[in-house]
């Protein structure tokens, strides 16, 4: 009896231990609330592996400064610290890398008191520029958060009498010029020099040609024209600067070219061919995405936030679609009312959710890292080096069209035109296919020149001599038959060839 119970004890202990051991390394993998997809050449959404996964949130509850209220912007400084524009509480909250409070910008009293700011920019030396929206000014604080200076509404005849100033976002370039996005302003970014003087508009959107407007202009009377709504250029929602000093903008209210890379004179260099960003059917049929914010990393990868679908879209330096994540909803990883985003140097994307008063962090998946590495080499034109990485991408996800294109280009460069054609066909890139085909044709003709010549000669001989000869024979036969038929009708002897 005792023996049995001892045996039982040993066995049950062993089982318990075994269960413990197998249960210990369990990590919970919450399924992502959104499905990853990529876009093929036909514009269809194709299932793909997620590029970004929800990691954590910063909501301010565990900070001594208290929870956020309707935050509008986040800025990641070069030293890794985080500035969160806590609009509802009229302050900027400064956090370190570990999300611990470093300080609060915005004084209780005096000139340093902010009133619902919507944007912040921090220079490399730590000087903080705040778009103090409701106070209609740019407020400047030093790195310790002490108020230094302010620039009010710019004065200039160019701005017009009805100009209303509502600075919401801003950036500061290397010359200390400020580029300010003012809500509702359609003339472009407002350039302000370090002394607070207005220096003109920058990079304005243009009103394109429209047939209906032309007809209206030709047909309508003056009174009718006065009643028509005035067509204004589209409004910028945000502007950011990349490491090379290019300014990227996001535009509201249009289906095409919502994201732009502006050259120093304000010309779009990203969309040589007009391009549609965001999804067309993400939020019901034919919805127009409204991009609120964008971030550009050191490789030129553009990450942009669309309010309509509450999704974050990512494009490479050339504007090719890479990843999408987020969406509308209550789960972690979805947003209620997203308002802004930023990307840290390690690739983590910070999305500010105004509706839920918090900032959500998304980390890259290994797949995204692989695609980013490959796309960096691809964009630089180092096709050969990128080829291996793209093959790995295809191994993980055979639906990634960009990979086929990139491998095709690598093969093309290696003068392997036949295989390049196969890959271009898989990527559905007819243009590249045609170019590769032309080279292949050249090569083929060179190798088989003798045979081709021979075939052409044979065809010419056939057409010139053999075919007419056969034709004559057939005609003779036919007419013979007809004569025989005629003889038959006339009542002659059938099959009498000597008729």
């Amino acid at each position: 009896m005792k023996q049995v119970s001892k045996f039982r004890f040993v066995v049950s202990t062993a089982i318990a231990l075994l269960m413990l051991v197998t249960a210990l390394p369990v990590q919970t993998y919450a399924a992502s609330p959104y499905e990853g997809y990529t876009r093929n050449k036909l514009g269809d959404d194709v299932h793909s592996i997620n590029g970004y996964i929800y990691e954590s949130s910063i909501d301010g509850y565990d900070l001594s400064s208290g929870p956020f209220s309707a935050p509008e912007d986040v800025f990641l400084a070069d030293d890794g610290t985080i500035y969160i524009v806590d609009t509802g509480n009229s302050r900027i909250v400064h956090l370190n890398k570990k999300h611990e409070l470093l300080g609060i910008i915005g004084d209780e009293e005096g000139d340093g008191k902010l009133y619902e700011p919507k944007g912040v920019f921090v220079k490399q030396d730590g000087t903080i520029y705040v778009a103090d929206t409701k106070n209609q000014r740019i407020a400047i604080f030093d790195q310790k958060g002490k108020f230094q200076n302010q620039f009010g509404k710019p004065e200039n005849p160019l701005l017009g009498a009805t100009f209303s100033y509502s600075p919401s976002k801003l950036l500061v370039d290397k010359r200390n010029y400020m580029f300010v996005v003012s809500d509702g302003n359609t003339q472009g970014l407002i350039q302000i020099d370090p002394n607070g003087q207005f220096k003109g508009f920058y990079g304005a959107n243009h009103v394109g040609f429209s047939w209906s407007r032309l007809i209206n202009k030709l047909v309508a009377t003056d009174e009718q024209k006065a009643k028509l709504s005035v067509v204004k250029p589209l409004e910028f929602s945000n502007a950011v600067q990349d490491e090379e000093g290019f300014i990227y903008t996001s535009t509201l209210g249009t289906e095409m070219n919502q994201l732009k890379r502006l050259s120093p004179v304000g010309v779009d260099t990203l969309n040589i061919v007009p391009r549609r960003y965001g999804g067309r059917f993400d939020n019901g049929p034919f919805s127009v995405p409204s991009f609120l914010d964008l971030a550009v990393d050191k490789d030129g990868v553009i990450t942009a936030l669309d309010l309509q679908s509450s999704k974050v879209y990512q494009y490479d330096k050339l504007g090719n679609f890479l990843f999408v994540f987020g969406g509308l909803g209550d789960q972690n990883g979805l947003f209620i009312t997203p308002s802004s985003l930023a990307q840290s140097p390690d690739g983590t994307v910070f999305v500010v959710d105004k509706g839920r008063n918090r900032v959500d962090l998304f980390r890259t998946t290994p797949f995204a890292e692989l695609v980013h590495d490959a796309s960096r080499l691809f964009v630089d034109g180092r096709y050969k080096e990128a080829e291996g990485l793209w093959n790995e991408v295809l191994h993980l996800n055979g639906n990634f069209d960009l990979a086929y294109l990139a491998i095709g280009k690598s093969l093309f460069k290696a003068e392997n035109y036949k295989d390049a054609m196969t890959y271009f066909e898989l990527a559905r890139s007819r243009y590249d296919y045609s170019i590769a085909f032309k080279e292949y044709r050249k090569e083929y003709i060179r190798e088989n020149f003798a045979w081709i010549c021979l075939i052409i000669v044979v065809i010419i001989i056939a057409l010139r001599y053999i075919l007419p000869f056969l034709w004559r024979r057939v005609r003779i036969m036919l007419s013979a038959r007809r004569l025989a038929g005629a003889a038959h009708i006339k009542g002659g002897v059938p099959h009498d060839r000597n008729l």
């Binding site: 036909l42 054609m421 066909e425 007819r430 243009y431 296919y433 170019i435 032309k438 044709r441 036919l478």
Partner: protein, 205 residues
Amino acid sequence: MIATFRLMRQVIVHPIDFFHDIQEPGRVKWLQALFIVGLAYIAKMVAILITGYAFQTREPYEISFLNEFIWIVVPLFTWTVSNWAVSAILDGEGKFKEVFVGSAFALVPYAIFIVPITLLTNILALDESSMYTFLIHFTLFWVGWLLLLKVRIVHDFELVKMVWITLLSIVGILIIWFVGILLFGLINQLINFVVDMFKEVNFRR
């Protein structure tokens, strides 16, 4: 069969004679016209199959045998009906058979040349596509010209009246399509109504 090929040769080489000849009774048969329509359809499908990759404008799954057939038969048939009806009212001489046969034989250049022209797409690159598009357009204009010639000769019109009748025929085609779609919708509604009624009554039995 050989008579059909002879007619095809004639419509290409001597189209004016051809359209005069088909007005002779018993010269052409309905079956021959249907044969030409079938030939045009087959040529079109073959052309779609052998188009080089760079020149394909549609994905394979977007192409349907039935759709392509409808897109040849329905326009041709409505054109025949409309043209015959319009010219019958406005002193045209053509009989329905002549109109149909003439329209069908106008497709002969398309049926014959589309396949060799499409073969070119397998040896041309996209930047040389102007040659291909020129040949395709040439063939289509040829077909259009034959159709106009048919209106002129079969109905014995002068030039201005031919243009006028052609325009009216096109309007007629649009009207036929409109009425057809309308009827389709109405009949659909009617059938749905009857089916629903039956279901409802069945439900409350």
